[in-house]
């Protein structure tokens, strides 16, 4: 996602993990952990002019 935003022209791309995010169901949670799935906050700006 980071690269896609930069490729689109965004600058100052910042990411941070959303603390406390998890899936409710254990089976989904386990599968998500296996794939390194996490929730992130992403901010970026479109340069002026």
């Amino acid at each position: 996602m980071f690269e896609l935003l930069e490729d689109a022209g965004f600058t100052n791309v910042r990411t941070a993990v959303v603390p406390g995010f998890q899936f409710r169901k254990a089976s989904t949670r386990n599968a998500a952990e296996a794939y390194g799935v996490k929730a992130v906050m992403i901010t970026a700006t479109k340069a002026e002019g």
Binding site: F21, F23, R24, G36, V37, A39, V40, T45, K46
Partner: protein, 202 residues
């Protein structure tokens, strides 16, 4: 079937699955899903309890985000905010409070009935929003029409994330910004997940 045909077919099935799943959250907020939703999820992600008390129950109960895009959006009075995948409208309602009467909130959602629901929820707070039925890969707005794009747990649902990033860039004004929360994977998903719209929509 060519690769492009196969992707178009999968996208069509995925669209139906996304519509079904999030309509179910809106229609049956007391049901149990594999993700946390409603007030429980919003509190988990740090939404101000005063916001949740003040917002219509219909917007809070159907909340299905994965974080809090307002935490870093720094919305200011008078700004125009696009909520991409506006759902039942909780994030749009909060945005409307932050940008005030001089500001403007625009929603885009795949599901026209969610647009109607979000607009009704905003109206219940005395605010209003435009809401357009549309896809995030083809945002139905002119170039340079928003100061800020917010989104919550939506971009990950697209097969064409590069296109979504380009569209967010297009609709932002110069010096505009995005504040989105979303799901990312540290590993490439297996083909069985990619080809299963139920898992992808999850």
């Amino acid at each position: 079937m060519t690769g492009a045909d196969q992707q178009a077919s999968l996208e069509g099935v995925l669209k139906d699955e996304i519509l079904r799943m999030y309509q179910e959250v809106a229609d049956n907020p007391d049901a149990e899903f594999h993700f946390f939703h409603g007030r429980e999820a919003a509190e988990m992600f740090g939404y101000d309890p005063e916001w949740l008390d003040r917002a219509p129950a219909g917007a809070v109960d159907s909340f299905a985000g994965v974080g809090n895009p307002h935490e870093r959006a720094e919305l200011k009075p008078g700004e125009t905010v696009l909520d991409l995948g506006s759902g039942a409208g909780l994030d749009a309602i909060i945005a409307s409070w932050l940008v005030g009467s001089e500001g403007r909130v625009i929603g885009v959602d795949l599901n026209p009935s969610m647009c109607h629901k979000a607009q009704a929820n905003l109206a219940a707070t005395g605010a209003s929003m435009e809401c357009h039925e549309g896809r995030m890969e083809d945002i139905p707005l002119p170039d340079a029409s928003a100061d800020v794009v917010i989104s919550n747990g939506v971009v990950n649902l697209s097969f064409r994330k590069r296109r979504v990033a380009e569209e967010m860039f297009r609709v932002l004004k110069p010096a505009g910004r995005i504040s989105i929360t979303d799901i990312v994977s540290g590993r490439e998903l297996s083909q069985s997940i990619v080809n299963d719209p139920k898992l992808w929509a999850a």
